[in-house]
Amino acid sequence: MSSTTIQAIFDDDDVLLSAVKDLKAADYHIEEIFTPFPVHGLDKAAGLKNTRIAITSFIYGLIGLAFATWMMNFMMVADWPQNIGGKPSFSFAENMPAFVPIMFELTVFFAAHLMVITFYMRSKLWPFKKAENPDVRTTDDHFLLEVSTINDVKTLENLLKDMGAKEIKTKA
């Protein structure tokens, strides 16, 4: 038996939020929610796991720091240990203060850009990507909820109507 997906359109974020809570309580499976702006608490209510994107950023930052340290040690101490204005180039530690600005900048550079690229890849966003929101109003002032059921479709439709859905469509 295949499941049916129903699209319900709401016009208020608070109504949507309570509908999502009630649907979860009634053990319905929420497929997707499209909203025009971030509705706070909706990810918790829909049972979404936390994103790990901040963790990736931390790791990327460490890579940036390691890269900067390696690069400057190689160029300034290992490859050409020159005397430039009396700065001690005998070891990394001796000339370390002069390396701090770039170590910092590269840490931020790596952490920021690689995280943003990760975000674009994970969320599948790129210049020629086609938009996938089923209704154009969901970027303006409407909220679309996709729920699937294998049981009685009519019951779910009535339930959504009671919860305040303005329009209900069965996904083709």
Binding site: P36, M75, T139
Partner: protein, 465 residues
């Protein structure tokens, strides 16, 4: 509604009886409408100034740096003054979008998009100067540590000018992705409203197929928060590194440990002044008075007052330490009795008047909530902050250790033309932005409508009484 509770003492940030749809319509209106005559006049003036500046830049590169007013002693003047000035202006944008996000300031939402645009466009202008002030522009790529055929000859990582390269390019690129990521939902809104096929195509391309899924929003908010957390130290570090161009030198007046925080405060000071200038015009011409309200203007004035105070304290400190050090060379630095009475007395007093005295008027609520006065002060501060950089660079170089190399500086028309050109370029970009981009982060604004909208606040007030 209870989840949107906000203390009744807070003034509304969105004026009028606005709904989500009204926000969409108001933000999309300038993009969907046609440019009027005034826009074309402003754009033409800016474009002419820009082209004039390009001419001056090409003339400089073709003929040599000698066409500028620099001399053997004063070998940095308008070029680096303008560079630091533009970088400083660029700092407010990131401050508004990043620092105010970390502090959960809701009033940032009406202004952050334009402030970030201003950052990007100002850093573009700033980025021109380190390149065009080089004697051999075509060798500029030598600043990058790229493996090469000269035995792999590397750069010297001890120089703050190289730190600048890393700082400015990191700052520009991170600000750009921060701004762009925030634009995705707003481009998507324009895409979904577009009626003309060409417009639809363009905004589909720009919006990267943003669909507003729940998971996307969750990541989007986390990414924004982490980027804000990264951009905040970045802002502080970038102007710190710019200040080290001077602070790490041995020149009296430059060699000062106060420069890093003092330059950053000055950057925020001048940057907010520029945001103020632009937004006071924009709210009128783009009909955004409901979103950029008196509260926004007043809050920005408060930040200007705070940072202006920090800068003023730094002036006093510099002046005091100059005297307290007992070093006779410190008698002729940019903040010394020598500067106040010397040949550059007018530049010294321009700095004191514009940055120290005038901003203090913002202590009065009547004046800081007055749009005309705010506009006037914002212009005054930008002039004053230009003079601050000019004073630091030129006055300190004009009276150095050796009296036989004391000299004066006067700019040539090429110096001036390049500066005018960057102002023109800035406004060309900003005017184009104002007609094609959603100038207010409408998706963010919608998330505070119920807590900070005037109609909703009134509704809550009625219920509780």
């Amino acid at each position: 509604m209870m989840s949107h509770y906000e203390a009744p003492i807070r003034e509304p940030l969105i004026i009028g009886n606005k709904s989500y749809h009204d926000i969409t319509v108001d933000v999309a209106a300038p993009v969907e409408g046609k440019a009027n005559k005034k826009w074309w006049i402003a754009f033409t003036i800016a474009l002419v100034a820009f082209l004039y500046g390009i001419g001056a830049i090409l003339y400089t590169i073709g003929t040599g740096i000698g066409v500028w007013g620099l001399n053997n002693r004063i070998n940095w003047a308008w070029d680096i003054t303008n560079f630091v000035w533009w970088v400083g202006i660029g700092h407010a944008g990131t401050l508004i979008s990043a620092v105010l996000l970390l502090f959960r300031q809701k009033w940032r939402m009406g202004i952050n998009r334009s402030a970030e645009a201003m950052t990007i466009f100002a850093v573009f202008q700033a980025g021109l100067f380190p390149i065009i002030h080089m004697g051999r522009v075509w060798n500029a790529f030598y600043v990058l540590p790229i493996p090469n055929a000269l035995g792999s000859l590397w750069v010297n990582f001890n120089s703050p000018l190289l730190w600048d390269v890393f700082a400015i390019s990191t700052y520009l690129s991170v600000s750009l992705v921060f701004w762009y990521t925030g634009l995705l939902p707003d481009f998507a809104m324009l895409r979904d409203r577009a009626v003309r096929p060409f417009q639809k195509k363009i905004y589909s391309l720009l919006s990267f197929g943003w669909s507003g899924r729940l998971k996307d929003w969750q990541r989007f908010e986390e990414v924004s928060l982490v980027l804000a957390g990264l951009a905040t130290p970045l802002v502080l570090s970038v102007h710190t590194i710019v200040s080290m161009d001077f602070a790490t030198s041995v020149i009296p007046g430059w060699h000062s440990t106060i420069f890093p925080p003092y330059f950053v405060a000055g950057a925020i000071f001048s940057g907010f002044a520029m945001v103020q200038t632009l937004l006071l015009i924009m709210r009128k011409v783009s009909n955004l008075e409901a979103y950029i309200t008196k509260v926004h203007i007043e809050n920005m004035n408060k930040v200007i007052l705070l940072t202006g105070g920090i800068v003023s304290v730094a002036y006093i400190t510099e002046f005091f330490i100059g005297w307290y050090s007992g070093s006779s060379y410190e008698d002729y630095t940019y903040l010394s009795v020598g500067a106040a009475t010397g040949p550059y007395w007018w530049a010294f007093w321009a700095l004191i008047t514009c940055n120290f005295i005038f901003p203090q008027t913002l202590w009065f609520k009547k004046l800081r909530t007055n749009f005309v006065w705010s506009f006037f002060i914002s212009i005054v501060i930008n002039i004053g902050m230009w003079f601050e950089r000019f004073d630091i660079i030129v006055i300190d170089l004009s009276r150095g250790h050796l009296p036989s190399s004391w000299t004066m500086f006067s700019p040539t028309f090429v110096d001036v033309a390049i500066f005018i050109g960057t102002i023109g370029f800035f406004f060309v970009l900003f005017l184009l932005y104002a007609r094609t981009f959603p100038v207010i982060a409408q998706a963010e604004l919608k998330s505070i409508l119920k807590s900070s909208g005037e109609n909703y606040k009134k509704l809550r007030g009625d219920n509780h009484e």
